[in-house]
Symmetry: C2
Subunit: 362 residues, 2 copies
Amino acid sequence: MQRFWVKSRSFKYSVNVGSGAWRALADFPQDRYSAIFILTERNLWQRWGEKLLREGNVKRARPVFVPPGENSKSLMRVEEVGAELLEKGADRRSLLVALGGGMIGDLGGFVASTYMRGIDCVQVPTTVLAQVDSAIGGKTAVNVGAMKNLLGTFYPPRMVLAEPMVLASLDERPFRSGFFEVAKHAILSGPGLFKELEAKAAELLPQRARELGDILARAARVKVQVVSRDEREAGLRRILNLGHTFGHALEEATGYRRFLHGEAVGWGILIVSRLAELLGVLEPTEGARIARLLRQLGPLPTLHGLRARQVLELLPQDKKAVRGRIHWVIPERIGRVRISDQVPLNLVETAFRDLQRSEAQE
Amino acid sequence: MQRFWVKSRSFKYSVNVGSGAWRALADFPQDRYSAIFILTERNLWQRWGEKLLREGNVKRARPVFVPPGENSKSLMRVEEVGAELLEKGADRRSLLVALGGGMIGDLGGFVASTYMRGIDCVQVPTTVLAQVDSAIGGKTAVNVGAMKNLLGTFYPPRMVLAEPMVLASLDERPFRSGFFEVAKHAILSGPGLFKELEAKAAELLPQRARELGDILARAARVKVQVVSRDEREAGLRRILNLGHTFGHALEEATGYRRFLHGEAVGWGILIVSRLAELLGVLEPTEGARIARLLRQLGPLPTLHGLRARQVLELLPQDKKAVRGRIHWVIPERIGRVRISDQVPLNLVETAFRDLQRSEAQE
């Protein structure tokens, strides 16, 4: 198990990644809290609840359940959870533990940040994406209608506990999907993690999750370093959007049905790599290496039938767009990116068509 | 016009109170923002919108309307406002101006604190209560069902502009109601403001609102000083709950129909004064002086028909209760309070019955 520290605005918190991570909860000052509540899904609770309480040495904790699925990331659900917490006696000194994937982490963080104007929160992520990315850094969010993450807060957790063992209960597709985010971190951080990911690409299976502590920790560390330097996304943190600008548009264009989030990010990385080549800032050999790794990480659902214009039209809806300009995160090589708001849209269109064409030729 | 500064966690902001306060907006760096949106009620906009834009030298601003009334302080309304802001093109660099009373301020602050994870907010309060209290300090909130302010954030505004002229359009009862909060600030701060309030009590009428800049500024200053020293209610800020512990219970016991908020606070102050006398910590002459001022500020709706137990049962629901204990703010004299969590409930019951009895004897 590895431990990293995130320097947040007014306190620092530990991110614990690897086998045995849950045991770090035993050293957390639980006695300071009037009560502990665990926001989770029923099936996660049945599978892992007892183990979490035992390993974390939690004496009393009450679960609060939300239905699985993105629909739970809504203000309606926030209201329900808030009312249930109140009914169960949660006060300002209560602790909320979010046990689940990205949805639970985002929703739980949002609830914690607003319940009685803020109670402490511990993140216990149970998906690859959540373990290396979304549970770290304090971004919380809910969706409003079709607009993902329109409302949210910056609200750092008090601790993050990423135990790879839980990943074993994921299906293979969502499991693999998370590794496209790991690839993103590898491109941001440099050749070390990238090489490790290349070496392990064939072994990335749920049943081998326990062996992945090291790679997950290295990937999580990238996020830790970025958010420690830029908690509120004033600048540096935007590099974490690598692959996301286009990825989000792809998800939206397909009604969030064709691609899992990580898969859309996978395509998003491919398109900005291609863009970078077209812009002449990324060597084609580096671009090819990135593309090869992404292919190894698993099959991506096809782009077939999507019209470039249709996807591009969804780009300016990106909420990170300031005054309507789109900030693209462009890889310059493995280990370095730049942010540019000067990318012509017709170049994006060309890159997209290139991807579609090469996909058709395979 | 008087200007005070609140030291917030990461920036300081000005609180401008008195005739001409809106003109301070002209010096605010409006150009930094991609767009300006004004959250308000339709009738306020019609009466004051043009004047605010002119005095504040605001070139472009678009209103976003919410219906008047406490029902608008809901997550459903947050969602609607969020969707409307998005549709109108608000991005992370937009500014939200909340023009209205406590409801608009709380809702607007909450929306600003969560829209795209936080956009800047300027508070333009239009009621006495909002001008001297709720618009200052960065507390935002929405209700969940019957639970007032269950969800909220600490999110300081970038500026507060309290112009007494707007108070002229209030009806007399809500106008007067706000002065019970001014009385609260007078008890907290000391004889100066208290005497001024005693001297002006007979003249506190909407049509004379323009003359009240000084008293409003002095009352606002009390809030400014407290929140500058304790933004997140770790300790000192709790003194602002003077009269509120019991006041909230009274409002709840009567379904928020019998008392305006300020009136409930008025009764709340009377009960803690009586409690303080019973505890032997407040001289009866001081208690009588407090009671006399409150009577001068206007008639309070009767306590008749309320059973003490029924009100007392609602006390522990106060969300400021930590581990179920109630923290009472007890006046020791005009200018000094103490916080006690050791007040026996039967003493509160006695104080309540004393008030009911003296009311019946008048």
